[in-house]
């Protein structure tokens, strides 16, 4: 198969199957239901299973059971459903289990809307569940990346035994673009001797638990996990750098808004303004080191997001406030145009932007 024209949601599903994921547990919610439908249609043909759970809570706990017993498994949802999953996600982290979770974000809070949003950035990167914990968070910005980062998600999840969150949005989920699956490398699942799937009399019993009543034992597990996060930060940070080398004004933007921002950067360059784009692909860990370097050469940063300003605070922290960091965003499902973003660049360039 060469290039196929495919919806973002379906690209994730197809890439998951090609990654060796044979189990999907989910619950319908707009704008990501195509994934469950694709899985329901395709899994039986490849000897897998798509099971529609009674709730998001049940779905993530089915994922928990499947991951604990050693298989590649995923679930997907959209913002309100991800909130429901957060309990299960915390347990999955607490047991150091690998799995992939996709959030095709819609506007919130509450039932919100069904149009694209990036307003779950805080939830995804800071607190998708109780406890001292992080996920590995990947933010695709094209349908090709919806597929390729799904493959990466399974690889990283297994490599570090941690859940990986794909943070997409309603636009990426619903839009169609050509995807070349041949360009994506897919990994094989590793051996999982720690899994609880019957010891067969061949090893000691495996216990999967997140319960440690002795403070020093719990502290020890959290510290070990912190070591793992450090390793992930050293090895797995991803970003796209576009015309940042000589840039005065650097836009920081992920996902769908990074594409809009790129057009604005091009427009600025055409008009003699040295603009650039730093697109974080991993939101957690955040490309802080790169941004810290850029703070030495750029004169201002502009964070463009589909929310009221969430990632902008990570940009401020990363650049240690060496240079002004501005914010521009739309929310509630509204989308800025590249002209809107270009105007922001003009305002910064002219010293007008507050």
């Amino acid at each position: 198969m060469s290039k196929v024209l495919i919806k973002g949601n379906e690209a994730v599903a197809e890439a998951a199957i090609r990654s060796g994921c044979r189990y999907y547990f989910g619950y319908p919610i707009t704008p990501q239901t195509e994934i469950a439908e694709y899985m329901a249609k395709t899994m039986p043909k490849v000897g897998g299973l798509c099971l529609q759970a009674e709730s998001e809570v049940a779905a993530i706990n089915m994922v928990y059971g499947a991951a604990a017993s050693g298989v590649r498994v995923m679930t997907s949802s959209s913002s309100p459903g991800i909130s429901l999953k957060s309990e299960g996600v915390s347990y999955i982290v607490g047991c150091d289990l690998p799995c992939v979770i996709l959030n095709v974000q819609r506007g919130g809070p509450g039932l919100g809307g069904i149009q694209p949003s990036q307003s779950d950035y805080y939830q995804a990167t800071k607190a998708l569940g109780h406890g001292d914990m992080h996920l590995f968070v990947l933010a695709p910005s094209s349908v090709q990346e919806m597929a390729s980062l799904t493959s990466d998600a399974f690889t990283v999840a297994d490599k570090y035994r941690m859940p990986v969150l794909l943070l997409a949005d309603g636009a990426l989920g619903q839009m169609m673009e050509p995807v070349d699956f041949d360009k994506i490398s897919f990994s094989n699942p590793p051996e999982k001797p720690w899994a609880a799937n019957g010891h067969g009399g061949a090893r000691k019993k495996n216990i999967i638990t997140s319960l440690y009543l002795k403070p020093e034992e719990l502290e020890d597990t959290v510290l070990k996990r912190a070591e793992k996060y450090k390793l992930v930060e050293e090895n797995e940070v991803r970003y796209e750098e576009y015309l940042c080398g000589d840039a005065d004004i650097i836009i920081v933007s992920f996902g769908i808004t990074a594409r809009i921002s790129k057009s604005a950067v091009n427009e600025a360059r055409k008009n003699g303004i040295k603009a650039g784009l730093l697109r974080p692909i991993t939101l957690s860990p955040f490309p802080s080191k790169k941004l810290r370097q850029l703070a030495d050469t750029a004169s201002a940063f502009l964070s463009v997001e589909l929310n009221m300003g969430q990632m902008v605070n990570d940009v401020r922290l990363a650049t240690e406030c060496k240079k002004p960091v501005y914010f521009y965003g739309r929310t509630g499902g509204s989308m800025p145009s590249s002209e809107d973003v270009y105007e922001q660049i003009l305002a910064i360039n002219g010293g007008m932007k507050k």
Binding site: R22, Y23, F25, L49, L51, A53, E54, S55, V57, A58, A59, N61, M62, V63, Y64, G65, A66, A67, A68, S69, V71, V73, E87, G88, Y91, C95, A196, N197, G198, H199, G200, G201, K205, N206, I207, I208, T209, S210, L211
Partner: protein
């Protein structure tokens, strides 16, 4: 010669249960059944949140600790990805019939081929004796200090009766472990609940009326009497469902 010894599937460690609590008896019965069916190597247990949270320390098979009420969903995740393994949950009344009602009912409706051991002691034991979905009318707990009142706390749930209405349930029996005769009957029920899974008949649940002397404020002996005099009349023992719900080996 008959030797009374620890079942192979029961770990040789001290249990944390209170004196007079019948969790230990039920653990032993489950372990005996696992031994007798020869399934220890292929069994995965799912522990609840509640007094039996440490069940994973007491059985010699693989174990997963679920969050509160989600054990049937976790069991579904294990069983559906490993249909040749034996998967059982061990849950209390708050876990199974309050916070986990949705997971319980839907696993039962789907006919998940799993075994559920359900401990009904009419209160939340681990947190210190609060009202459970199975607390009986008039029963005093720390959160029904004037006795459970229909118009305030509402009615309890009869789990076996409710689940027996669902097509995916192969077997639902309520037993008790308050005397030797009942313990022997409980063992037969637990064995059947595991055998049904081997035979792929659907979901099997054994509800065990158990004691909680500590939170009931009774001596162990009086607690056994409480089961006989108060619980069994309200929660009648017996078989509520017994059928090949999911077609058994015919599906192979």
């Amino acid at each position: 010669m008959i030797v009374y010894k620890r079942p192979e599937s029961l770990s040789d460690v001290p249990m944390h249960y209170c004196p007079g609590c019948t969790h230990g008896i039920v653990h032993r019965l489950v372990a005996e059944v696992i031994d007798e069916l020869g399934i220890e190597n292929d069994t995965v247990g799912i522990a609840p949140v509640g007094c039996a949270v440490f069940a994973y320390n007491y059985f010699e098979c693989d174990f997963i600790e679920a969050s509160h009420g989600r054990a049937p969903a976790v069991a579904t995740g294990v069983k559906r990805t490993h249909p040749d393994k034996i998967v059982f949950t061990y849950q209390g009344d708050g876990d199974l019939a309050a916070i986990g009602t949705a997971e319980t009912v839907h696993a039962a409706a789907r006919g998940e081929n799993i075994t559920i051991i359900f401990i009904n002691n009419t209160n939340y034991g681990m947190t210190g004796g609060q009202m459970a979905p199975t607390t009986m009318p008039g029963q005093v707990t720390t959160t029904s200090p004037y006795g459970r009142q229909k118009l305030i706390q509402g009615n309890p749930i009869h789990v076996c009766e409710m689940l027996s209405t669902l097509d995916g349930v192969a077997y639902a029996e309520r037993v008790a472990v308050n005397n030797v005769k009942n313990v022997r009957a409980a063992k037969r029920a637990i064995k059947k609940a595991f055998q049904n899974q081997i035979d792929k008949k659907g979901l099997s649940i054994v509800e065990v009326l158990s004691t909680c002397p500590t939170n009931w404020g009774l001596s162990p002996v009086d607690a056994l009497k409480f089961v006989d005099e108060k619980m069994i009349p309200f929660y009648p023992l017996g078989v509520y469902a017994d059928r090949n719900a999911m077609g058994g080996d015919e599906n192979d």
